[in-house]
């Protein structure tokens, strides 16, 4: 926890100290732009379709569908999250 926290801080500090030519380097920029997209997508998939190392289909899938709809409707962040939570919670009642 502490290691990750300090490393994330170190990355910010490094940028203030590194030479500016790094920024122009396309070979560095592309992976840095793409990795967050891939990781977030993978995290969404795992958080929705997996329990531990098993693939499962449960109410979280419905919650994600609702979240996608909310995002497409340009709902604010908290509304997206709350809609997903409410969907999962309500479906579990039945």
């Amino acid at each position: 926890m502490i290691v990750a926290s300090v490393a994330c801080y170190g990355l910010k500090l490094a940028g203030l100290a590194l030479p500016e030519t790094w920024l122009e380097n396309q070979r560095v920029q592309r992976p840095v732009a793409l990795i967050p997209i891939a990781l977030l997508a993978a995290l969404i998939a795992i958080g929705t379709f997996a329990t531990g190392r098993h693939l499962v289909l449960d109410v979280r899938v419905a919650a994600l569908v609702v979240a996608v709809a909310a995002v497409l409707l340009r709902a604010p962040f908290l509304v997206v999250v709350a809609a997903a939570c409410a969907t999962a919670a309500l479906l579990r009642l039945f």
């Binding site: 926890m1 502490i2 990750a4 926290s5 300090v6 490393a7 994330c8 801080y9 990355l11 910010k12 500090l13 490094a14 940028g15 203030l16 100290a17 590194l18 500016e20 790094w22 920024l23 592309r30 992976p31 840095v32 732009a33 793409l34 990795i35 967050p36 997209i37 891939a38 990781l39 977030l40 997508a41 993978a42 995290l43 969404i44 998939a45 795992i46 958080g47 929705t48 379709f49 997996a50 531990g52 190392r53 109410v59 979280r60 919650a63 994600l64 979240a67 909310a70 995002v71 962040f77 908290l78 997206v80 999250v81 809609a83 997903a84 939570c85 999962a88 919670a89 309500l90 579990r92």
Partner: protein, 225 residues
């Protein structure tokens, strides 16, 4: 911290925007505090992440991995990878901010999506610096207060699943990811990453699917012209 002189009439809209952003992210931090606590992290751990890591996507990723049963190291790895973009923000901001000595470590901590956007949107460098510091201080305050609130509220709940909190993490990531998917290539990468992660998931330890995805997309980014 004395922000460099900027015209007074130009400062008011900056303060208003900074507060708006900070309040919105405070609400977002409530969600983080709640999810982190629901994932089994202690109150001190949750608060350290918000004050030291202080970069939303990385924090959500770390608790998301831990909540999914991944190891702390897998979570840390993911968090740091997501945090790499801040180094690039710092690079962009370095010439604008011109921070020296003791202020530099403080300035570094405030380098985020929001502060970078606020700072580089100004034509006048003095206003840019002012926007950076005001947004940074406001965000840091609301972010940590929101985290504490969310964590304390969730501690009072016996089973987070009853409130569907396990569905909160994917929804939060989706909201973070959506603005980046406007073009075809990022969308294709996102879909492939999700499919690859699920395909390898049953065969490797928790957290490793993310590592595989990160390495693959990193190679793709490096090798493709």
């Amino acid at each position: 911290m004395a922000p460099p002189a900027a015209p007074a009439e130009a400062r008011r809209p900056i303060i208003r925007d900074a507060l708006g952003i900070a309040i919105a992210s405070g609400a977002y931090a409530i969600a983080f505090g709640a999810i982190s606590t629901a994932a089994g992290l202690t109150l001190p751990q949750t608060l350290v992440m918000s004050s030291v890591m202080f970069t939303g996507a990385s924090q959500f990723a770390m608790v998301g991995v831990i909540a999914a049963g991944g190891s702390v190291w897998a979570g840390a790895f993911t968090a740091v990878l997501l945090g790499t973009r801040n180094a690039f923000y710092s690079l962009r901001l370095a010439s604008l901010l011109q921070v020296k000595g003791g202020l530099r470590p403080l300035a570094a901590q405030f380098v985020l999506d929001e502060t970078t956007a606020m700072a580089i949107a100004r034509d006048d460098p003095r206003l840019g610096r002012y926007a950076f510091w005001v947004t940074g201080v406001a965000l840091f305050t609301f972010w940590n207060a929101g985290t504490l609130l969310g964590a304390l509220a969730t501690q009072a709940i016996s089973d987070p699943k009853v409130f569907g909190l396990d569905a909160a993490v994917p929804a939060a990531f989706l909201a973070l990811l959506a603005p980046r998917l406007r073009a075809r290539e990022p969308l294709a990468i996102a879909v492939v990453a999700a499919v690859v992660a699920l395909a390898v998931l049953p065969f490797v330890p928790s957290g490793v699917p993310l590592l595989i995805v990160a390495v693959l997309v990193g190679l793709f980014g490096l090798l493709r012209p």
